[in-house]
């Protein structure tokens, strides 16, 4: 499984993400520069966290116009695997590869901390090594992670089982308190209808080794690597 990590100006989790795939998971991993026109035959494109283009205009709004993102759009349409983490998730929303939008966190704070998320759908290409209902401890670090979708869109996402992660407490209960940024339905991660594109606000690369305080994020990487 060959991974490609996209670097935009302002990405700041790109090296951590590269390290997680290349050094921790021991997978062939290459860099993809936002001005490139080639995806270098990767099997999975990873959009890392950070502040692409300084978050100017809206988070992820400018990155979607990168030459490489036009390739990513075609790659995704053909069923290619795309994972967006944090700012990468925001880019996928702006690009329209995932439904919805991000608002500023409800209490207007930049949140940088460990959270618990509940795995809602373990039948996806990104989560099949986990089990539905499993609670993962993975850090978040964002200002704009308050997920929003109009009612009809939200209903459709839920009906299709596209919600992959929700903010929860350590026991997996979906409480208002656990929904740290005020996301609708506590949504922390979701896939597109086809199930080949996933975005998530928590950073699995920051929870890929016990030394980092948690290795729970590996379930996503292991799912990607192993046969579906």
């Amino acid at each position: 499984m060959k991974f490609g990590v996209v670097a935009f100006p302002g990405s700041n989790c790109d090296f951590d993400t590269f390290y997680a795939f290349h050094d921790v998971m021991k997978q062939p991993t290459v860099w993809l520069w936002h001005k490139d026109h080639s995806l270098k035959d990767v099997d999975c494109v990873v959009l890392p966290g950070g502040f692409s283009y300084g978050d100017y205009l809206r988070s992820g709004a400018i990155a979607r116009f990168s030459p490489l993102m036009q390739e990513v759009r075609e790659f995704a349409a053909k069923g290619g695997l795309v994972l967006g983490i944090c700012n990468g998730f925001q880019v996928l929303l702006e690009l329209g590869l995932l439904p919805g939008a991000m608002l500023r966190n409800q209490h207007l704070k930049f949140l940088c901390r460990f959270v618990s998320i509940r795995l809602e759908n373990a039948r996806t290409r990104f989560t099949h090594k986990g089990r539905t209902g499993q609670v993962l401890r993975i850090p978040i670090a964002h200002f704009d992670g308050n997920y929003f979708a109009p009612p009809e869109m939200l209903e459709e996402i839920e009906a299709n089982g596209q919600v992959v992660f929700r903010y929860a407490d350590a026991e997996g209960r979906l409480t208002e308190e656990a929904n740290v940024n005020g996301s609708l339905h506590g949504i922390a991660g979701l896939t597109n209808r086809m199930g080949n594109v996933m975005g998530m606000m928590p950073h699995p690369e920051r929870a890929s080794e016990t030394l980092l305080g948690s290795a729970d994020g590996r379930v996503i990487f292991e799912s990607l690597i192993s046969r579906f």
């Binding site: 205009l57 919805g100 608002l103 500023r104 929003f148 979708a149 869109m153």
Partner: protein
């Protein structure tokens, strides 16, 4: 020609920044303030463009780039012919 484009959240979308500004104004005693919505203003200089062309271009760029139609709406006016 110069146009001014105002991008703001749709009425159905909660605006936590506007809420915070409203609360601050209430703290100062401006009790008459019922609601505050915060937005963005773009002033764009268009070269050699007729009014009809502006009416085509401005909504296009607002929908494609300046606003995210899922959460935001826009309004615009010509501020300099």
């Amino acid at each position: 020609m110069k146009v001014r484009i105002l991008v703001s959240f749709k009425d159905s979308v909660l605006d936590p920044q506007g809420q915070t500004v409203k609360n601050a104004l209430h703290t100062l005693g401006y009790d008459a303030i019922r609601d505050v919505r915060q937005g963005k203003v773009f002033e764009i200089d268009l070269a050699g463009v007729s009014r009809a062309e502006a009416e085509k271009i401005v909504p296009e760029i607002s929908d494609k780039v300046l606003a995210n139609p899922i959460i935001e709406k826009f309004a615009w006016q010509i501020i300099e012919e």
